[in-house]
Symmetry: D2
């Protein structure tokens, strides 16, 4: 019997039936007006979820990594300088991508478990009096450590330093699940993927691009064709695509936005916060703590749980998969073994989270970790039962 247990990896997420059905469509002629009827609502919906003002949304048949590449290859030239903090696996990877594309990344190292170091960023910007830094890279939600950084704070740092650099934000594991205010925060490129808050299968890189970033396209000389914003923009004008689009995923994206907006974006964010808080109550009841160094850094989409001395988080993940057919995330890079990760984003309910917590506890008991069965579950139950949104109770 193949299990039907929910997943607790920090993406891809559990896909709702409604979205699976929207994606599962027969071929249409993508050069006909039928395509625009699918595409336009998706574009418009993404703009609302991103909180964009002016600017453009580009959707590539690709992934978040492709989104990172599209962001820099469309706006920069070889040798250009970026500023970035490294405090987890995903901030590291974007830096690495830039370096492989011949860009000069000024890296601020920060401890894993911390967020983007605002003071250091501001200092670096102030020091860059010649404005060599063309772009500041920021990872909104560091999926490896469960840390949410303060993007508004980076914007304040840029403004305080009077620095004209563009602000590029990796929102792959935050957008659609946690508040994102592209216009308010002055984000120039926001990168999202289909498989996290949008609850779709992987396969789309989704980018919001500000007018300021669009202006940088013309002078950027990094080579690109597949990811070229220019071709995409030209094709948009004709209601089309420079090559064959992933129509089903785009239809699913439109449906996802419709689902998010039916629930209400604020309600979606509140739900993620509530689910995350239940997980954190359980973690505390287990006598453990999140990898994120302080409460202001806690991610609402993933919790990296620091395991007790002498325990190995990867053992728990393997056991959960092998014995109970439940998927958690292992620790990556610097925190490999030291954490296991519970993803709690996308289409998820309190009841599903309780199943995950109960499973983690069984694994802990199996591994001889000093945790009492039911303890974390009870803490989460107590929290969840006291925090059901009025809306939900009413609708029921």
């Amino acid at each position: 019997m193949s299990a039907q247990n929910p997943l607790f990896i920090p993406g891809p997420t559990n896909i709702p039936d409604r979205i699976r059905k929207a994606c599962d469509m027969q071929t249409i002629d993508h050069r006909s007006p039928a395509f625009a009827r699918v595409f336009k609502p998706a574009i418009a919906g993404v703009k609302r979820v991103l909180g964009m003002g002016a600017g453009e949304v580009f959707i590539f048949p690709s992934t978040g990594t492709g989104g990172w590449e599209a962001a820099v290859s469309n706006t920069l030239s070889p040798g250009d300088t970026l500023l970035a903090a490294r405090f987890g696996m995903f901030s590291h990877r974007w830096i690495d991508l830039c370096q492989r594309h011949g860009l000069n990344v000024q890296v601020i190292e920060a401890p894993w478990g911390q967020g983007a170091p605002l003071a250091a960023i501001e200092a670096a910007l102030r020091a860059d009096t010649g404005h060599a830094i063309r772009v500041v890279l920021a990872t909104h939600n560091e999926t490896a450590t469960g840390v949410r950084s303060d993007i508004a704070g980076i914007r304040r740092a840029l403004d305080a330093a009077g620095h004209p650099a563009l602000l590029f934000v990796d929102g792959v594991s935050s957008i659609g699940s946690m508040p994102f205010d592209m216009a308010g925060w002055g984000v120039d490129v926001a990168v999202a993927g289909s498989q996290k808050g949008f609850m779709l299968p992987a396969g789309l890189a989704i980018l919001g691009v500000s007018p300021k970033a669009l202006a940088a396209i013309e002078t950027a000389t990094l080579p690109r064709t597949f990811f070229d914003f220019r071709d995409m923009a030209k094709a948009y004008v004709a209601g089309g695509y420079p090559y064959t689009p992933a129509v089903g995923l785009i239809a699913g994206l439109a449906e996802a936005v419709e689902m998010l907006e039916e629930e209400g974006l604020e309600a979606v964010y509140a739900r993620h916060h509530r689910l995350a808080e239940g997980v954190r109550r359980a973690v505390a009841a287990w006598g453990m703590r999140p990898c994120a160094a302080s409460a202001d850094l806690y991610s609402d989409t993933v919790t990296a749980v620091l395991v007790p001395e002498g325990c190995n988080g990867t053992d728990l993940v393997r056991l959960a998969a092998d014995k109970y057919r439940v998927a958690f995330g292992v620790g990556l890079g610097e925190v490999a073994g030291r954490v296991f990760r519970i993803g709690h984003l996308g289409s998820l309910t309190d009841v599903m989270v309780l199943a995950g917590l109960a499973t983690a506890e069984m694994c802990m008991a199996d591994l001889g970790w000093p945790v009492r069965l039911g303890s974390g579950v009870a803490a989460a139950q107590e929290f969840y039962r006291g925090s059901v949104p009025a809306m939900l109770a009413a609708a029921a």
Copy 2:
């Protein structure tokens, strides 16, 4: 956000993707050989799940109730006598159906929570020296009380009394989930539905009919056309159906049998027993007990939980649905309010059951019942983690 929580009603059950895909098929010509390629494996598979010897399987686009009607209307004539015990809502309903069809049912009343009273049945059969009783009706698994009756025992009673009556068994909520031995138990008509152990949507009445029951068709004068075994048998010979069959459901039934047999029928039964035992451990930890009067009667597909004095099981079911979007079953008939029911059959895992138990506990706390959060979950966790089948662990 529409919940994706598992269901804990005692059927219809959670439908696996694989079965949904098998059911979701484009129309084929049901008068062409393509239909036989769908139909024959379904028939053959059902025979194996029923443990049939000789005889025939009939599948009607209908439900279990239709199966009851087909069983009696094909084998009996107005005024014929049946013997039946009543000890729950579903045994009651079959009796009621017979009476509405002009049959004479000799009813043995038994307390709800008990199973078929073997001694009383044997006594009634021995008393029927003229063999007026044409059929003994038995409800294998009384879904209202979570009681499994001893069908082999009824066969022994018939044999001990030297009585030639036919034995008709309602296995709607047992077949495919608990051992069923049609040939071994000498069952003449077994009635199943698609929406329980077969994990399909409702829409099929599935009947196994012994040669002895088939012989009764010719003399039976109760009117029937839609449910007429004769039309069905005649059409089978031509590889077809007397009217338009529910092809998708039949394809799904074949797939269901394939899934059951891939897991292994014994393993399927063991899984249901293990899941049920975990539920019973939780019930005990809550300080409650099953409605089933003794351990030998415990159903492995549904547990009717007797609630504490002053509590109302229906309140819990309503609250679970409204506040947590989780479906349990209410008490029916004589035990309305006095129990709530946890269905644990079909496509289900230990992890899913834990989600249900955790939800029930939250409701209990919400309702002020004297139960500690996490207590039942912990008892079930302890049991589950010690009882993972070797097979599963190895396959992982």
Copy 3:
């Protein structure tokens, strides 16, 4: 490679993706309010498609045959008299069902290819001065011969004779595809199925029941439980069902009505008429003619094509299935071999019909029939290209 050719059997029909997706749903608790949200729109929609006034709609997990049985078993008692004309396989079968239920059917035989003989019906009604006839049965669309009868004419006959008999109409292969005016025609029970004009898989018997027919329920003594209107009506009051409903099919039925009404019922009927007319032009171009004796009898959902002397329609159907993987209908009963049938109902387009006509022509050539390749196609093309609805052209 499994073919994806459209079907041309007169039901079940090609199922649109949108309906397949609506049917393919995860289990919901059919005793919760969620069920009413699926069920009520389906009931309301069926009423509109039937053109009902007051009365009730009942939906059984069954088929059209079950609908026939429900109609008579809920309203009549053993020995009651009905009046019916027999002029094809489906009118024959309903008569047979009645007889097997102990009813007395006064049968008017009419040639296959003719419709309900209005004069003879009126004469029989006038002759029945004692009003022994309780019900007049009528087959709106005789699927075996492709003949549409004049139901309004039967109502006029009843009125002219001043006869109080109920009027029961088999609309299985007409409702949803050809105009049906239950209130205007004074129909007391209309029987439909899911798998024709509603474009669903088989599995639902759908009945519209007038207040006059509902009144007959109380005195009817034919035995029934599964099909009992009383149980159904009682359960409706509580928003439910007397047993487990086929929720997915009911959801699909609601979606089907939505699709029909989006297109517009009049437009749906016009589309069927247009597709049928194209088929008839092709038939004429082949030098053949429909089995239906005159143009006023032509069905818009199925054409039974009389084959040339010395030819066998069944050969064509077999060859089409074996060689080209296209399904047509064979001749049944009296017209076996003398016709082959082209179903043109449900989700179908002119382009799909042309594929069917082209296939039939290839078979004719293969069989040595005296038909020129392309001749029927050309006649249909000429008709279709001149008759595209303005709406469609505009929407495009």
Copy 4:
């Protein structure tokens, strides 16, 4: 009513149900062994379809354009020289991509309607005595003109010239539909997409890479990360992916290969040839001819039909879409207006093709083109009915 007409664009193609179901899967943990169970059969299957010897297959969440970019960015450095012939829109686009990546393309212009000019290629290679040419680009099937080039001939040219250049082939619209012999032809990189012969939605770039091309990776300095073969190869070793894979499409790809191999690759190619030949018979009957200059160049996946003087192919395509809801392809670039294109690849039958031909004829009549209705259909019918594969006839 949304049409269910088949598509006749030269990709994406009609998606069979079986593949849609394979693609439509719930999320699995792509870092668990479950992913390898999906991925490995896909990789192995693609190797067989490509006719690969040693080497590696890489699958990117992207499209054919991404495949072109991956091919060159992984093997070349800025300023490197390629040799390519331009004779249609797709050969043009690959050349353009190379130029935008700073590569030096030696372009041989050839008339649209011709294939790769073998003599000119061989001459250019012989002239390149210094072996500056690192790569020869070839478009196996030029989708714009319906021309198949002789890849074996290009290999012979390379060998005759004793030139060590790599041979890169765009097989996007040929692989899986027409014979492809990567090992036999000495192809170093073959580029395919998911949405043509593999019958999937767009979303995958599929590349077969020879050991010789793999050896070029280490010295290539064009920047790439998303498309980097090195990251992909490294991840493969661990059974995984460098980022989140498009699991559903990969599962669908495995299923596609299974379908192709169940039918038999030779039978698949023969089916495409047969369908194409029927189209060409129709074109001839219309008094027109393919854009492909001679029979040896005819593509079996798409026919670009040269329209009569004074007619505009784009008018036909628009009318077919607007009036009949059937999709054909417009002429692109140099042949815009001068042709319309009929795609006949992927999951398609003779019956479906006849529907397309009949539709094209109706449009021609509507537009006043000098074509008799039914004429092309009849020519295709005649051909199809005489050429049904024995296998199909037998299986039926």
